[in-house]
Amino acid sequence: MPKLTIDNIPVEVPEGTSVLEAAQKAGIRIPTLCYLKDVQAIGACRVCTVEIKGARTLVASCSQPATEGMEVKTNTRRVRQARRTVVELLLSEHDGDCQTCNRSEDCELQAVARELGVKDITYPGAKAARFRDTSTPALTRDTAKCIACRRCVTVCNNVQGVAALWAQNRGFKTVIGPAFCQNLDEVVCVQCGQCGAVCPVGAITEKDHIAAVWEALDDPNKHVVVQTAPAIRAALGECFGYPPGTRVTGKMTAALRRLGFDGVFDTNFTADLTIMEEGTELLMRLKHALVDSKKGGNGHKDDHHTPGPLPMFTSCSPGWIKFLEHYYPDMTANLSTCKSPQQMFGAVAKTYYAQKIGKKPEDIFVASVMPCTAKKYECQRPEMNDSGVQDVDAVLTTRELARMIKQAGIRFEQLPDEKMDAPLGISTGAADIFANTGGVMEAALRTAWEIVTGKPLPFENLHVKPIAGLEGVKEASAKITGAKPEWSFLEGAELKVAVAHGLSNARKVIEAVRSGQKQYHFIEVMTCPGGCIGGGGQPRLTTNDHRLARIRAIYEEDEHRELRKSHENPAVMQLYKEFLGQPLGEKSHKLLHTKYVARTRV
């Protein structure tokens, strides 16, 4: 435990703590740009520079470990001038379009410049070359705004294991981007948007769908409905000054109604529907593996398909789907065939709901609000038009919704709490927890367990503790006892599940399964760290503290519900009765299930 002084304040920190973190502990703020807590501390930007007694030069505090007896000064003339010079040099290259940049409200470079009192840019040099990459449905890159802090590179490589981004060229000509500065769609990119989520400036942002949504809202011939993913209600408040983890479900609903949507609905509704389909699919796969295949022959000739292999992977997260299609194309059969809740919603809204209100699918416009950029890509996949037209028309991120609310002059904090519309706005607590890592698994277990045994899931308060929290890979198992007669083949079986979030963790699980080191029946994967609550479309900047606060809010949301199991959702039951028939039935198959494609790695 080294003891040191920072600006004459004594502080004691654990071995390996950086000077930056030690200063935070001493209550001293050191400005940073490239530093990203728990992810990157490489001293690239030099903004966090400090003076250390005995050191020949100024030192980057984020990458300097605190040592015994160190005397650090963070506020000397030399430090202030050096920091200001560093930021001036960055600004001299940065072609920011600040007045119109979509980061102008929360740009970290702008904030640091203001904090350090930069008033002039005394280095009138060349600007970074501008190349706008709009090749993907989800993301926009603008190289002229990039300050080469490398946060996106670190996240893309180390956290997600995708490695679409890397520093290309060298020196002043460095471009952070895909191979040979090509477009993103020419390399493996899963469009998760974690790069944009950590970008301190406006160099990587979501592709704008706000204009398309306004256009639909302004069109009197369109019936415009909106669905909101469960993760939005735990984070949207942050865009209006609420602390992380504030639940704003009611205000969000009111805001959407005031924006002019004809139906304010919930992706939670189709999250419950997903559980009905995916839970049944899991049981079918288990039955096929344990019973049918032992009998020999195909016991499911009458079904619409033969159940796929085990382990079954969840399929709600489009970045994860694309990752698997690229890196493990031989395992697409292991993915649940269920569409994501977003896509199920689009298909149901433009068929079942359209019939109910007497509209044609093409007269309905489905907008989504998602914590995710990959959802913009997912809705444009060619398979996703089972209603006869594109099932989901536009996808707004949480940040985009906040921008629309501000554009409309709505005072969010003054809104009353309102309820979502029926029937596609009715949901259970099991759907809420789709928002966080472990949640889809828990929701599926709550229902599947009860189908098999007729009894509630035997975990306290229905929470499967071992798969909650921010550990990268989590496991749980439960021995099935008291199975109903039709599920007697599962009696005594040990159901093994795993949960991974962040794609590099997903890779660990897959490799363990492929090598035979681990065996599971069901594996939940969410693309982003923490799950959807940490998605690429959420308010910036998301740290682990934000993730934990949002997860806490989601569990509260779940626990405040009367109904907490998907199979108890009355609107979903009605949908089956009036329209779909039964889970995995013919109509479900056409509207709610999908196929995957094998892709290449380079």
Binding site: A163, N169, P178, A179
Partner: protein
């Protein structure tokens, strides 16, 4: 890619080898280096030896073979000026623009070479004989300005004598530079 497609092998061995054959040689290198840490740069150097430059097909093969992303491979290739992703001529002409060579007329030597060869820096003559590049310091500062053609260093080059330097290479008289090409 077709089996019989011939590519001009620029490793100065004089033979025409099919792309298929060159890729097979690359696979041999990859098999040897697959599990070695820090393999990327040596493999890229050898691949450039095999192909004469680093074509996309080779780079993608390397990315797969070494289990690295194509963006990372491209990042390393574009960082080092030694690597080239465009075909090079039979002879590589490098003009030193380090400080000593620069003050003693390296720039004029370069301009003359551009004019004589009819190409800009980084380009290759249409007959695929010469590629022109600039470099920083061959360690021949006392004999500046210096240029390198293949592995030969030429000292105190005068712009009006450039043709004398280039001549032997044009006629194939200069000793063929040896390059290490793994069998």
């Amino acid at each position: 890619m077709s089996e019989d497609r011939k590519v001009g092998c620029t490793c100065s061995c004089g033979e025409e080898v099919s792309e298929q054959e060159l890729l097979a040689r690359l696979d041999g290198v990859l098999a040897e280096y697959r599990d070695k840490p820090g393999a990327l740069i040596p493999v890229l150097q050898m691949a450039q030896g095999i192909f004469g430059y680093l074509p996309e097909v080779a780079l993608k093969r390397i990315a797969l073979g070494l289990n690295k992303s194509y963006s990372e491979v491209a990042g390393v290739v574009s960082f080092y000026s030694f690597f080239s992703t465009v075909p090079r001529g039979k002879h590589l002409v490098r003009v030193c623009l380090g400080t000593a060579c620069y003050v003693r007329g390296g720039k004029r030597v370069l301009d003359t070479l551009k004019q004589k060869l009819g190409i800009d820096v980084g380009e290759t003559t249409p007959d695929r004989q010469f590629t022109l590049e600039v470099a920083r310091c061959f360690g021949a500062c006392g004999l500046a300005p210096a240029i390198m053609i293949d592995d030969d260093v030429h000292h105190r080059v005068k712009p009006n004598k450039i043709e004398l330097v280039l001549g032997p290479y044009r006629n194939g008289e200069a000793a063929k530079a040896e390059r290490k090409v793994p069998a």
